[in-house]
């Protein structure tokens, strides 16, 4: 789950992570108010959408740039009025763009040094790790590749957590000495507390900046949360902005289906995440392009299969469907009935290949063949993948 920049800021403020003073607004009037409260400093007004490339983006009303500097509260209000309610197109949003419902107004700070600081889960050690670097403001993967000596990894004890000496060690390694060291230990401690308390899987502060007047501030941050922990993090779950997500993915999640849209033309419907990934792979192996990942889970019901079909077919690029079910315990005949109902209900007109295997498979195959629908049967997974690729080519 992703969150907006202004929401990340609010989490920082709540946990005492130093960040430039600012606030969010949903109307130009609010923006003016926030700007007045910040006083006579240089301000930055930023359109709040999840996609990157906001600064170089263009609004559909012709206004250029989703990030602007200004020197007065009035100007900030005017900028906000040109962004709010408008659709911003960036290289990451696609041509449809995203509507801007909030703007963030913050003090535009001068920067003396840019650093990098992240807390994340290290899968290899099954414990958190802190990654810090003096090369801030850059892509950390590139830094790791070209100048690994600039990267500090500090493993955190899974039960004891971050210790004060570790914060000093990291501060020293980043050259944060003198009065900056106490700011650093405070900021690192607060950030780690936030990481644990809100079940984050990653917080990346890039850049962490030192200002010419000697302040250490988290300027920009990227959060990832552990979806499995959202049940006990209502405050985080409430930050979800469904308008930022693929509507098909939102619809799928309402039916407990795991759907991820891709850019191909062969849809697939599979039980189990591993088999669903492998089904996408085999479609590609035989020269097709998968349109989606879709895991209907281990105990898919008739209704779930029907909603899965509707979601798949809402993608206009889909030209064929491959159903791959290994019904180990599920009754294949029940699944077959579900597929037929869904195909009838949606008035299916594109090729459908069904590969069924497992419990009561003979009855399931018979039900499919007696349905009167043109369903292409398959003997195994390879056969199924080849048949759907061929059927879509011929169509």
């Amino acid at each position: 789950m992703n969150i907006h920049e202004y929401q990340a800021r609010e989490l920082f403020e709540k946990f005492g992570v130093a960040t430039p003073p600012g606030g969010a607004a949903t109307t130009p009037e609010q923006a003016l108010e926030v700007a007045k409260r910040l006083g006579g400093k240089t301000l930055v007004v930023k359109a709040q959408i999840h996609a990157g490339g906001r600064g170089k983006g263009t609004f559909k009303n012709g206004f250029k740039g989703g990030v602007h500097l200004c020197n007065s509260a009035d100007e900030a209000g005017k900028l906000a009025s040109q962004m709010l309610g408008q659709v911003l197109v960036t290289h990451q949003t696609g041509p449809d763009g995203k509507q801007v419902n909030q703007v963030l107004i913050a003090e535009a700070v001068d920067i003396a040094r840019e650093l990098y600081f992240a807390v994340l889960l290290d899968r290899a050690t099954s414990a958190p790790v802190i990654i810090a670097s003096t090369a801030g403001g850059m892509d950390i993967e590139e830094v790791a590749e070209h100048s690994p000596e600039k990267i500090l990894r500090e493993p955190i004890h899974p039960v004891l957590g971050l210790q004060a000496y570790q914060t000093r060690k990291i501060a020293a390694a980043l050259g944060l000495t003198g009065p900056l060291m106490s700011q650093a230990t405070k900021l690192f401690t607060a950030l780690f507390r936030l990481f644990m308390a809100r079940d984050c899987s990653q917080i990346e502060v890039n850049p962490l900046v030192v200002t010419p007047d000697g302040r250490l501030l988290a300027l920009d941050a990227k959060f990832n949360f552990d979806d499995n922990a959202l049940y006990r993090q209502p405050e985080i779950a409430a930050l979800r902005d469904k308008s930022e997500e693929d509507p098909r993915e939102v619809a799928a999640s309402e039916f407990n289906l795991n759907y991820i849209g891709l850019d191909g033309n062969i849809a697939c419907l599979v039980n189990g995440a591993g088999l669903a990934m492998a089904t996408m792979d085999i479609i590609q192996h035989y020269g097709g392009k998968p349109a989606n990942f879709l895991d209907v889970g281990g105990g898919a019901s008739k209704d779930q299969v029907a909603s899965a079909f509707r979601i798949i077919l809402s993608d206009p690029h889909v030209e064929g469907i491959l159903v791959n079910i290994f019904g180990g315990i599920m009754d294949c005949n029940v699944i077959a009935t579900g597929i037929i109902a869904a195909a009838r209900e949606t008035g299916l007109k594109i090729p459908l290949v069904v590969r069924l295997e497992g419990n009561n498979v003979a009855a399931g195959k018979q039900t499919l063949s007696e349905s009167g629908l043109t369903i292409i049967g398959a003997s195994d997974l390879a056969d199924a993948a080849q048949k759907i690729v061929q059927a879509v080519k011929n169509a």
């Binding site: 899968r123 099954s126 922990a229 590609q284 390879a382």
Partner: protein, 303 residues
């Protein structure tokens, strides 16, 4: 011998009275598995009845283990309580805890993993289908089925299977069985980023098991566990291995169903894992439909 469990292994089921737990308790009993106790706090003294079986229910894992002689627990407890259920099995000194539960917060698993370090208990899972050591009866009846895998697809034999995914395990097992090749033990290690037992742990066990003659290893995108297993196996494994990695077409940064199946920061790609396996001399199946055939080809080449 098989690994981890044999048809004689006595198991207890945590969450035996829940929907999920009771359904699979029944299937395990029907398969002929020694399900000797159930645990549901507050229902101690009752029994779980199915066909001719009467499985006693206890309030605590410790009591259940002492009274029944169970050495293995399987956890069907919902996510908010699952970490605690695993720790209870560790505290009772069990040999093995198998956590089927999907959706346990990763921070809970970080603490569980730490607690396991100083214990005698091995954890398999969470978010896994469990494990099966097939029996000698028809459709492998009489084996040890722990978890949610369909029992009848198995066949007793000498091929070890280890996988992060449930349905892909069934796919591999079915490919082997329909070609006449049985399995020693099939282990689903689970799809979460922090789990109890890795590919490498299971490969080592298969390597030491006299009954296992060849291995299918199934991985997927995310993490570096397959790379570690490959590096070890290339140097140390005496037995033929075929591998398959799922997720070559998965977009980076997206979680593909399993909490652990995500390519992040260029790490954990299918291409990287396949390269590591091939570098270690392990045959990689080009598609999920060719896992058994790939292994059979390797076996015939070694002969």
């Amino acid at each position: 011998m098989a690994i981890l469990v044999t048809p004689q292994t006595r198991i207890l089921i945590q969450g035996i009275t829940g929907d999920f737990g009771s359904r699979h308790a029944k299937l395990s009993l029907e398969y002929g598995t020694q399900v000797v106790a159930g645990v549901t706090p507050g229902k101690g003294g009752q029994s779980f009845d199915h066909q001719t079986h009467k499985v006693p229910i206890y309030d605590t894992v410790g009591e259940a283990a002492r009274q029944s002689g169970a050495t293995v627990a399987v956890v069907f407890v919902p996510p908010p309580f699952a970490a605690d259920a695993i720790l209870e099995g560790v505290d009772a000194g069990l040999d093995l805890v198998v956590a089927i539960t999907e959706g346990i917060p990763v921070n809970d698993m970080v603490r569980v993993k730490h607690a396991l370090r100083d214990s005698r208990t091995r954890l398999i899972g969470p978010n896994c289908p469990g494990l099966v050591t097939p029996g000698e009866g028809p459709q492998s009846h009489g084996g040890c089925r722990i978890g949610i895998a369909p029992g009848y697809i198995h066949k007793k034999g000498s091929i070890g299977v280890v996988s992060r995914s449930g349905t892909l395990t069934y796919e591999a097992v079915w490919q082997l069985t329909t070609r006449g090749y049985g399995q020693s033990t099939c282990v689903g290690i689970g799809g979460d980023p922090v789990n109890g037992t890795s590919h490498l742990d299971v490969l080592k066990m298969f390597n030491d098991d006299p009954e296992t003659e060849a291995i299918i290893m199934i991985g997927e995108i995310g993490g570096t566990a397959e790379e570690e297993a490959a590096a070890w196996a290339g140097q140390n494994c005496k037995k033929p291995i075929a591998a398959f990695i799922a997720g070559a077409t998965a977009p980076p940064g997206r979680r593909m169903g399993h909490a652990g199946a995500i390519v992040s920061g260029g790490q954990g790609t299918a291409a990287g894992k396949i390269a590591a396996l091939e570098q270690a001399g392990i045959a990689v199946s080009p598609t999920p439909a060719a896992m058994a055939d790939t292994l059979l080809r390797v076996i015939s080449e070694k002969r």
